[in-house]
Symmetry: C2
Subunit: 383 residues, 2 copies
């Protein structure tokens, strides 16, 4: 069996690192941001435009896809890549997080989670074995272990109980994945560290995962309301528990400042709905902070959203036009703002990669923070 | 003053003709279909994609744009072309049709129409002079005379009263347009023949317009519920009333079969919301008839929507995927189906132009009708 994934760290700056994750369907430059393609589409974007923003990999959601259009249907149609016309790597989550946040009448047992679809009320089961099977049917390049995302806040007892369940499920995920010959098909399995905000639990969880052995390691259970300071604190003691030669993925993060702080702490991969969801909600991320296109002052502003941005929304349109599209509820507004936000995120990742490669990450972060703060007070900048 | 527009007929087949309408911002191949860009955007499409479908000219709506974002605002921002990033010709309607179908508390007098905005209730006036001014502020290449679209059905008395008002407004439109030096700026003014379904009124209307003199002539007051047979009957006696050396525009038409029938009767230009609106409503036009992507049988169909189509929806995606996007309410579904429908319409126009140039229009139309009918009975075709 050839390794489904090879990871090389090309440069380091403090705990931060930049490198390349090589997979059968393409290379992923790290630190990497993965746009979220929940229902087999990065919302309001053609896949070729997603690629043009700089994305090397996208994320698909097991929970949504198993319910609609169904994993077996996607497999019959040739897999998720062909279905959605994205030939590069895809990471799928395990469904564990969303079954807890979206499904109805859910019941957790040792075996897994039974639930009703939020779409049509149909009954389903997600277990480590079924999650592996679904992700295999979809044809994911990176498969995530099935876990329980521990709710926040949690008592030490709740967090331990949840983490220990996730670790038993991690072992069953590994076994289920290996039985399905996912690795032989070129896909990799990542384990997920849980343990909430408790260092001893994170330590036990990381040790349990390393004992099982995964191609990469994710940090889960963060960005669930604990705040950036607590999140960074957890990363400070959790990241060093993970092997140097494996990619590290912080799930569901986050705002630009969260990503910058996590990269500094040694994280290699991110995903978040923020750039896409904000793009459909008139909210733009720029080099000078966030801009709300609903604000009246943009209606007569002939300038681009972000003068330094290469995206087509910034090259070809004014703030006045984007403001008009938002006010008129036009689909093109969602299209252009999503494209801009994803471009901004990818350019931020490229800036971080370059800064790490050139050993000037501290200066890059200082400049990033100053520009964001400037936007917050500048009369024509962010709002 | 140089002519704002030159029109050359390159070939004829019966009453049908193909030619080129040359304007400052580009050539328009006729017969031409103009996608509708109501609110300064062809809905769910980037302008570069509209161009890729084959559109030489698009239509903008005076009524919508005067209310939001406002004609003066667009003028301050450099005009509609720059605002919406479309550098080729734009035709704007006069607002006359939509003020009657969309506005509230409207009141028609000899002077014009006073009304309340359907968006915010603000009070406005549209008159021949104000319509010319607005279309000039927008920077339209082809400006339409302000008229009343006669409701259908109408008594001969109602139709005469309405037509005569429109002819007085046509004269004021010509005077208002000329005072604003629209022609000097490279734009052309089209008059609109009214008269409902009464041949004597259509004849009087055409004579009145020719007496005033316009750069092109539109047929208005059709596609308002009279049906294809009556519409074709009106065209049979109205088109020969119009000068051979000027472009003829059938407003608001239509279904592919309507366009084909009107081209055969000598019409050069069309506009309609059908391809764009249908694209947002899961309805696709294909070489084998219309396809409703909501139909369950498409869910597992790996074939493209239309195997002969060059658009990206047909080249890169299956019916199963398009069906999934529609069911999930994804924006990408509207994007891809709109792109497909506009491509289908533009390819139909190219087919008509080629057939006229090669004197085989009858054979082209027979093949078109046979393929559409076949789709209606084929098990995997249209529905």
């Amino acid at each position: 069996m050839t390794a489904p994934l090879s990871f090389s760290v090309n440069a380091r700056d403090g705990r931060a690192r930049t490198g390349t994750l090589s997979m059968r369907r393409g290379d992923i430059r790290t630190p990497a941001f993965m746009p979220v393609g929940t229902a087999a589409t990065v919302k309001a974007m053609k896949p070729e435009t997603v690629r043009e923003t700089g994305a090397d990999i996208i994320l698909g959601n097991t929970y949504h896809l198993m319910l609609r259009p169904g994993a077996e249907r996607i497999a019959r149609l040739g897999g998720l890549h062909k279905f959605m016309n994205w030939s590069r790597p895809i990471l799928t989550d395990s469904g564990g997080f969303q079954v807890m946040s979206l499904a109805k009448l859910r019941k957790i047992t040792e075996d897994g989670v039974t639930f009703q679809s939020h779409i049509d009320g149909s009954r389903h089961l997600l277990s480590p074995e079924r999650s592996m099977e679904i992700q295999r049917l979809l044809g994911a390049d990176i498969v995530m272990a099935f876990d329980e995302c521990t709710p926040y806040p949690a008592t030490p007892e709740q967090a331990r109980h949840s983490m220990e369940l996730s670790m038993r499920w991690a072992k069953r995920s590994r076994q289920g994945f290996d039985r399905l010959e996912g690795a032989a098909a070129g896909s990799a399995l990542f384990g997920i560290v849980q343990g909430s905000t408790f260092e001893n639990l994170r330590r036990e969880s990381a040790a349990a995962l390393l004992d099982i052995g995964f191609e990469g390691y994710a940090v889960g259970g963060l960005a669930v309301g604990e705040g950036a300071e607590v999140m960074f604190d957890v990363l400070d003691y959790t990241v060093p528990l993970l092997p140097e030669d494996r990619p590290r993925y912080l799930m569901g993060v986050g705002k630009p400042s969260d990503i910058v702080g996590a990269v500094r702490r040694g994280i290699d991969m991110f995903d978040c709905v923020l750039p896409t969801r904000s793009g459909r909600n008139a909210q733009a991320f720029t080099r000078r902070g966030t801009v709300n296109l609903k604000n009246a002052r943009h209606q007569d502003d002939p300038r681009p959203l972000d003068e330094a941005c290469r995206c087509s929304a910034c090259r070809s349109y004014s703030r006045a036009y984007l403001s008009h599209l938002v006010r008129a509820g036009e689909i093109l507004g969602a299209m252009l703002l999503t494209e801009h936000n994803l471009t901004y995120y990818q350019d931020l990742m490229q800036g971080l990669r370059d800064a790490i490669a050139e050993q000037r990450l501290d200066a890059f972060i200082a400049a990033f923070e100053a520009a964001q703060a400037e936007g917050n007070i500048a009369p024509m900048g962010a709002d």
